[in-house]
Structures are given as C-alpha cells and as structure tokens.
C-alpha cells in the first residue's frame, strides 16, 4: 500500500469522521456545522494529495477496506480513478469552505447535524464510487451515494415541490441502477468473477448479442446519472431544490459518476467496440448538448438554468467519448487518446466552473430570497465579489478564451475535425456536423450566459430584495475564489496540466500523447505539427498587453477631457426605471420564436373586464414552453405502468385463501426447480 493509497484511506476516514460528527452533534447545529465541514475540508485536501500522487506515480495496487461483508470491499486508485477523485477533491474543498458561511444563517433553523451527516456521506460515497474495484462494492457505493444525494435534495422537505423532485430523482436513479446491475451480472456470468481487474477488456470477448446488451445497459444506466437526453428529466428538478452547496456538488461531481462509469466501461472493460456503439454515443452526446442548452435558454430560474447547462456539458463530454470509441474501432489510438483527453478535461473543467456558478447563484439566492431572475438586477453593485466570480464562471462555461472551458472545447473540436480523415464511409460526415452543432451549443451557451449574468447582476434592481441585497460572507467568497482561480489555472496552465493524462490514455488506449503532441512548451498542439495549435497563456498575454496599452492611451487622453456621469441617455426618454429594462423573457424571445418547432411555446392572454373587452381592468398573461419529453414519453410511460399495476391488483384480492394458494404453488415450483438441479 503506497503513499497515495494511505492518503486515500485517510481521506475516507476523514469523511466518515465528519459523518459521525454530524450525527453526534445532531442537537447542536453550530457545532455540527463546524465539525462536519472541517472534516470534509480535511478529507478533500487528503483526497487531492492522494490523487496527485496517484497521477504522478501510477501503478497503485488493489487493497481491501476492513469491512465485514459478503463480498470483497476492494479499492484501487488507478490513473482514471485519480483524475475523478482529484476533481472531487478540488470541488469538495471549495464547496466545504463556502458551506461555513452559507450554513451560518441556518443555525437554529434547520437540522445542520443531518446536513453534515449526509454531506460527508455523499463525499464518501462518491469517492468510493470512483475507486471501488469490485462490482458488488461499486454498486453498494453507488447506492450509498444515490441515497445520500436523495436525502440532501430532500433537505427542504417541507416544500411539496422539493419532495416531488426528490422522489423523481430516486425513481430515475434506481431505474438506472437496475440497468447497471443487470449489465454487471451479465458480465460476471461470462467472466466468472466480479473484480474489475477481471473485467479488463473482457466485455469484448462476449458473444455479439451479449456484448451489445451490456453496452446499451451500461450506457443507459450511467446515462441516467449523468443526465443524457432523454433520461435527463430528473436533473433540472432535483438540482435546484437542494441547498446551493449541495447543488454545486450534485451538478459538479455527482453526475460525473455517470461519466466515470462510462469511461470505466468504454475504455477499460471494452476493447475496441463495434462501430455502431461509438456512433450512437456521439449522436446521443450531440442531442444532449443541443437540447440541454435550448432548454436552458428559456429558463428564468437561475438554478434551473444552471442545471440545464449541466445537461449540455454532459453532452459535450459524451461527444468526446463517442468520438474516442469510433477512433478506437477504426484503429486510430492517437486520435482516441486526444478525444478522451478532451472529454476528461472537460469533465474537470465543468465541475470547476459549474460548481463556481452554483455557489455564486447560491449567494444570490440566499441574499435576494428568490431564484427568479426577473426579480433581481443591479446586484453587481450590492455584491461585487459574487458578481465577479459569476462572471468568471460565465466566461468559462461559454468556452471563451483564455479560460478552461475554451481549452477542453478546443481539444474536442480538434478530435472531431481529425475524425473526418479516419474513414471513407458516410459516417465521417458525422464528425464535422457534430463539430458544427458543438459550435451552435457554445454560441447558444454564450447567449444564455449573457442573460444569466446581465439580467441579475447588471442595470437597475427590479425589486426591493434585490435593491437591499448583501454581499456574501468571507468564507463563501473564499470558496468561490478557489474555483475562479482554478478556472484560470486550468485555462492558462493547460500545457502543464495535460501531461497528467499520460497514464490515463496509456491505460485506456495504450498511447501516451503528451510528449509527442498535445503539450509543447506554451502552446497546445493537436495531433501532428501541422495541425492546430493554441496557447491560452500566449493569448492572455498579448490580450493584456494590447488592452493595457489601449487603456493607458485612453486614460491619458481623458485626463484633460470632461468625463461626466449622467442619467442613461436611453434615446432621449427621461426617467429610466427598472420597468424599462429588458427582462430575461424578452432576451430569449427571439430564440424562442426561431426554435418554436422545438419549444412549442404557448401563451395565454386573458383580459378581465367589467363593461366591454376594450376596457380591461386587468390582463392575465401566461407563457411557457411544452415539456416535450415529459408529455410525450414519461407521462404515457407512467400511465402504462399504473395501468399494469391496476391489472395486477386482481391477484391481490385480500383473501387469505388466495395467498395460501400462492405460497403453496411457489413452494411446489421451488421444489421442482431444486430437484431439477
């Protein structure tokens, strides 16, 4: 057991201690807050150290946790696991620091002991999911994580909406678990073991039908957790209703457990899979990205908007996986490695900037008391720090240079572009089309974040609460600052971070690409020396020099000029009030009309009048978009399930004789079955 493993064990211990401390301080919320969060911070720091160690010195072994169970509780911190635990550590650290200040107003009002308990349980569960090396243990950790997340989502359970969201999450999550379980059982049946080590490349030796079944079951099962379309409907409900620090963890890292599962299956259990699987994954990724961002655009609940963007980013990651699968099958391990690097880098980047955005949104929601963007406005003056951090996150998630979102999207573009040359069949058209739709997604995301930053933070306050909002506490700003700084580090320092992928790609496709191509000095390079290059650090440097020079010259000019502050011109209309401002609904209206075939928007205008409709006393206006997936897929499914259940009620008549007969028949059948064996 090497040093990284020892650190990992210590981190798991810290999370467990935090959970126990939360339970112990059940009745004393102030103590619970400090103890639970301190343990979480310690655990995350240890986890970061363990992951960095494991990435620097790969090749840690498998070891068991001292738990008494029916199956081996083995843990392995290989390079792929380490990348995810590193993401968990960095995000968890920032969120836990933030939680100190965030939970302070709740002391005495809410059961912080329970929150501290489930919070640490969640961190423990996610860490175990990323490191478990046995199918049974993995599923146990998976359920542990799902149930802790459910309890955290349902934390404000007095609201009916929260309970509903939590239940839908639980149902969907379990539907996913069933699929994963079935896939593992199939795999175990053919390989005769449940250890991940035994599954290595084993899935490809299965008969074609079983191989396809296992692939689809895993993809759909993990897809539920990750939130791929059409299995995403729980996500925009569940993430916003949780406390904001939990939302940050949920959107940042818990959905990434689905991505981890896919990576493990696609690049560890499978050798080169059949070509259709890669095309399916790529297509699903594209659809997920576009649908996610389109729904986000029409959302005016700040946290729901962010949740839909999680779906979008999962789509971008899955696109990378799809491309990597296709390249593997077509025999281009270098390109597969490039696509994997793009996808996994985006996984961490999304965790960082989405965590940041949820934390900033949490500060805003706590301060203003509503999630509705239309009631905010002008917060940049009342909450300058939060506004700055939200802006950093918004620039990063829109994929704009020189921050981290740009780097991972750039890598994905490079992989997709290179894909065109890998085959001569019509499939190759998929790559540039996927690239173009990725461009559409990124541009729509930028439009959405102009809205998400501009409406709440800029212009005039639209309500009393927004006009008197208070800046977030110091610890909350510290937590956000950690993540904002990470956005810069992962963007500007990408050339130094990317060599960390060497052991991962080596393990997954047997190629190390960084020395040859990806990172060369200051500039990233994709593939060969002739293909694209980019240097976020260089761009930032030249940008700063040019902007600085311009600022210097303009300032010098302005020193002698007359600079005055006056009411906004507003094309000559006097008396600008917050009623004149553009709203979020108005901002996204053009896109709603353009994509009306997708949104199927409806609106209802009902004037109330006493004498004549031409003199209305009040006008009721309602507008919305059709929840396509719920209406056309999930509601019929629910009705079908309920219908079947109603039919089955016939055998549940409540007669004791009937039940005795059932038991008798079952016994006979079991005996017959036993004798046959």
């Amino acid at each position: 057991m090497g040093a990284p493993d020892a650190l990992l064990a210590a981190a798991l211990g810290a999370f467990l201690t935090g959970a126990v401390a939360g339970l112990a301080a059940w009745k004393r919320p102030a103590a619970a807050r400090v103890a639970a969060m301190a343990c979480a911070i310690l655990g995350c720091v240890l986890l970061v150290a363990a992951s960095v160690g494991a990435l620097a010195f790969p090749g840690g072994g498998t070891w068991s946790l001292p738990l008494v169970t029916l199956f081996p509780c083995t843990v392995r911190l290989d390079a792929l696991s380490a990348w995810f635990t590193l993401t968990l550590g960095v995000l968890g650290l920032a969120v836990s620091v933030y939680s100190f200040g965030y939970l302070r107003p709740m002391v005495g009002e809410r059961n912080l002991g329970a929150l501290g308990f489930f919070y640490n349980c969640l961190l423990l569960g996610v860490a175990l999911v990323f490191t478990a090396a046995n199918a049974f243990f993995f599923l146990t950790a998976w359920e542990w994580m799902a149930v802790s997340a459910f309890c955290l989502v349902a934390f404000e359970h007095e609201k009916a909406k929260t309970r509903r969201a939590a239940i839908i999450y639980l149902i969907m999550s379990h539907a996913g678990t069933v699929m994963i379980m079935a896939a593992f059982l199939l795999l175990a049946a053919f390989t005769g073991g449940t250890d991940f080590a035994g599954f290595h490349l084993a899935a490809s030796n299965l008969p074609a039908a079983a191989q396809a079944a296992v692939f689809v079951l895993f993809f759909a099962g993990f897809g539920v957790k990750a939130g791929i379309v059409p299995l995403h409907i729980w996500l925009p409900d569940a993430h916003p209703v949780a406390p904001s620090n939990v939302s940050a963890l949920m959107s940042g890292i818990v959905i990434k457990s689905g991505i981890y599962g896919m990576a493990r299956v696609f690049f560890d259990f499978y050798g080169p899979p059949p070509l259709w699987s890669g095309t399916v994954v790529l297509a699903v990724g594209v659809v997920t990205a576009v649908v996610g961002v389109l729904y986000a655009l029409q959302e005016h609940d700040l946290k729901r908007l962010l949740a839909y963007h999680s779906i979008e980013n999962i789509g971008i990651i899955v696109m990378g996986f799809g491309a990597a699968l296709m390249f593997r099958t077509l025999g281009y391990p270098n390109l597969a490695a490039l696509a994997i690097v793009g996808a996994l880098y985006h996984t961490m980047n999304h965790a960082i900037f989405k965590g940041l955005l949820f934390l900033a949104a949490g500060s805003v929601v706590q301060s203003v008391g509503t999630r509705n963007m239309e009631e905010m406005g002008g917060l940049i003056r009342r909450m300058p720090g939060t506004a700055l951090y939200f802006l950093v996150g918004a620039v990063a998630i829109s994929g704009l240079p020189p921050l981290n979102g740009f780097v991972s999207e750039w890598l994905t573009y490079q992989a997709l572009l290179a894909g065109f040359g890998t085959t001569h069949s019509l499939t190759r058209l998929m790559f540039p089309i996927a690239g173009a739709l990725l461009a559409l997604t990124a541009a729509l995301a930028a439009a959405c974040f102009v809205k998400a930053f501009g409406i709440p933070f800029l212009a005039l306050p639209r309500g009393e609460a927004a006009a008197t909002a208070k800046e977030a506490a110091l610890s909350m700003r510290t937590g956000m600052a950690i993540l904002a700084a990470s956005c810069f580090v992962l963007g500007l320092g990408a050339t130094w971070v990317l060599p960390a992928f060497d052991p991962i790609t080596q393990q997954a496709v047997g190629v190390r690409i960084s020395p040859a191509s990806i990172a060369q000095g200051v500039a990233l390079q994709a593939g060969t020396a002739q293909s694209g290059k980019v240097s976020p650090a260089g761009i930032a440097l030249v940008f700063l020099v040019l902007a600085g020079t311009a600022a210097l010259l303009v300032r010098r000019r302005l020193r002698h000029a007359n600079v005055t502050t006056a009411p906004a011109w507003d094309c000559g209309l006097p008396g600008l009030t917050s009623d004149n401002e553009y709203t979020a609904t108005a901002f996204s209206k053009p896109l709603r009309l353009i994509f009306s075939a997708f949104y199927r928007p409806r609106r209802e205008i009902r004037p109330e009048y006493e004498v004549s409709p031409y003199y209305p006393s009040a006008i009721r206006f309602e507008s919305g978009i059709e929840p396509t997936f719920e209406k056309h897929f999930y509601m019929p499914l629910k009705d079908w399930v309920f219908g079947q259940a109603r039919k089955m009620r016939a055998i549940q008549a409540g007669s004791i004789h009937a039940y005795l007969a059932y038991i008798f028949v079952t016994l006979i059948l079991l005996l017959l079955f036993g004798v046959r064996q």
Binding site: Q414, I433, A436, Q530, S531, A586, I594
Partner: protein, 313 residues
C-alpha cells in the same frame, strides 16, 4: 523570436491603419451607387480623431462592465487579427491559435459588448444584445462548418497551414467544396459585420438596430475604441475569407519587395470584396429579423453541401 515580434507589430499597425479605410471605401462607394456624394473615404479616420478628442458621458446606472468592455472588444479583436495571415502566409501569432481561437476571441468581444448593452438598463440596449447574441448563435454553426471544410482540406485548423495548402494547389478555389464553403462564409461575413440584409449599419431607427443598439450609451473615446474594433473585425473577417480561399499574393519568404507586392495584392482583393459587399447592400433591402435565420440556415446548408461534395469530387 524578434522576427515574430516585429511581424506582429507590423501586422497590428497594418490592421489598425487599414481597417477604417476599408470602412470608408465601402461607405463612399455605397453612397455613389445611391447617387449621393458620400463623406469621402477618409471620413472614418476623421470620426475616430474626433471621438478620441472628446469628453465622455457615462450612464450613472452602468457598472464597471461598461468601462471595461471597450478595451476587451478592442484587444480581443486585435489579438484575433494577429492570428490570420494578411500579407505573409505565416500569421504572426500562428503559434498562439488558429481559426478556432479567432472565432472564439471574436465571441469574447461580443459577449462583453452584449453585457455592456444590458448594463445601462435601457431597453434599446437589451434589445440589441438579445438580437446580436441570437444572430451570432445562428451564424456560428454555419461559419464553423465552412471553416471545417477548409480545415479538413488542409488537415489543420492553423490558418498558416490552410493558406499554405491553398497556395500550393493551382485552381484550388474551383473545387466545389471550396466554392460552396466560400459562399457560406460570405453570408456569415455579411451577418457578422452587421451589413444589409441582416443589419443596417447606417440606420437611425432604434427599433431596427442590432449592433448599434448595444452601443447607444457610449460616447467619446470608448465609442471610438468600439467603432475602431468593429472596423478591425470587418477587415479581419474579410481577410480571413480572402486568404483562406484565394491566397494569391501571399508570400512565405521575407523580402521587402515581396511584402510590398503582397500588400498591393491584399488591397486589390479587399477592394474587389468591398465592391461585392456594396453591391449586395445596395441591391437588397434589410430583412425582417425573423427572416435572418432562413438566410443563415441557407449558409449552413451550403457549407454542409460543400462537405458532402468531397465524396463526389
């Protein structure tokens, strides 16, 4: 290193100096075609000079975003301008990024401009921001697909490499994929630079404005920076279109005479492109906002056809 530095400075000066001229030429030619006298091709320089000499009025409702935006727009556009080959086939900052970086840097400028439009709180600003982001979102996939067609031909997203491959092949332009992608890029150029039929740069009616509506609250040197940035962006996109598809006159070797010849080539090509833009502007009426998606969808289709045509030819 020194050579890169010098070429970067040289190209920066060229960009900043020529951009207002291109804007002036287009404006004057358009006036002549409409039987007006027009302000003369040097008017943009006079405008900039006047703006930079003036004082400023800042809206009291605006935040620091409003003051930072002009610098961001100007610098982002200029950095992007240094990544395209103008007179040498080697872009000065080619090492720092290719065509993807150019597109995304322009996106960075647009992002901040749209925020600044919302910042003052006037409804016209918000209207402009909303429309600008909508049109940009629809133009982006068409542009990317056209760019991909070219990049796939050169097997690289590096603009220097694209220009090199294009120079090496005679009659490169006549390949159907190239022609279709060129047509798509041309439409995108019209949309991105805010020209008729997508937007009217000369309009005085706020309700029909897109780009102008976002910058209504700006005055003085800030307005000057934004206007200058917009003209640099126009020059950049025109040069990108010209040199990715028609790289005639680009030199790969350094010599003073060669550079001068390349410069003349570039200016001639720009003049031809400007004439075509003027013709489009004078022979078309501005479209309704909700017809613009159709135009951009057409551009997307053209670019997609370009890709498909690689199977046939």
């Amino acid at each position: 290193m020194i050579a890169v530095f010098l070429t970067a400075i040289g190209q920066l000066v060229l960009l900043l100096a020529v951009a207002p001229l291109v804007a002036g030429v287009i404006r004057t030619m358009k006036a002549r075609l409409q039987t007006r006298r027009g302000p003369g091709i040097l008017q943009p320089y006079r405008d900039l000079h006047k703006l930079f000499g003036k004082g400023m009025v800042l809206p009291q409702t605006a935040s620091w975003i409003f003051s930072v935006t002009p610098y961001v727009v100007f610098a982002a556009t200029a950095v992007a301008g240094l990544m395209i080959p103008m007179i040498s086939s080697k872009a000065p900052l080619g090492l720092f990024g290719g065509v993807l970086a150019v597109v995304y840097l322009l996106g960075l400028g647009r992002f901040f401009l749209a925020l600044a439009g919302l910042d003052a709180g006037s409804s016209f600003g918000g209207l402009g921001s909303s429309r600008e982001m909508t049109i940009a979102a629809l133009a982006e996939p068409a542009m990317m697909l056209a760019v991909f067609t070219v990049a796939i031909g050169a097997n690289s997203t590096s603009l220097s490499e694209i220009a090199r491959v294009a120079t090496a092949t005679t009659w490169h332009f006549l390949a159907p994929a190239q022609m279709l992608a060129f047509a798509a890029m041309y439409v995108v150029l019209i949309a991105e630079t805010g020209r008729i039929p997508v937007d009217n740069p000369a309009t005085h009616l706020e309700l029909t404005m897109i780009h102008e509506a976002m910058i209504l609250e700006y005055s003085g040197p800030y307005l000057g920076l934004i206007e200058w940035g917009a003209s640099v962006k126009q020059l950049l996109l025109m040069t990108l279109l010209l040199n990715a598809f028609l790289p005639y006159g680009l030199r790969s070797k350094w010599s003073l005479g060669g550079l001068l010849v390349s410069l003349v080539y570039l200016l001639l090509k720009l003049l031809v492109l400007a004439v075509s833009i003027v013709l489009v502007e004078t022979t078309n009426a501005k479209m309704r906002l909700f017809r613009v998606p159709d135009l951009l969808a057409m551009a997307f289709t053209l670019a997609a056809l370009g890709l498909v045509s690689t199977f046939l030819f």
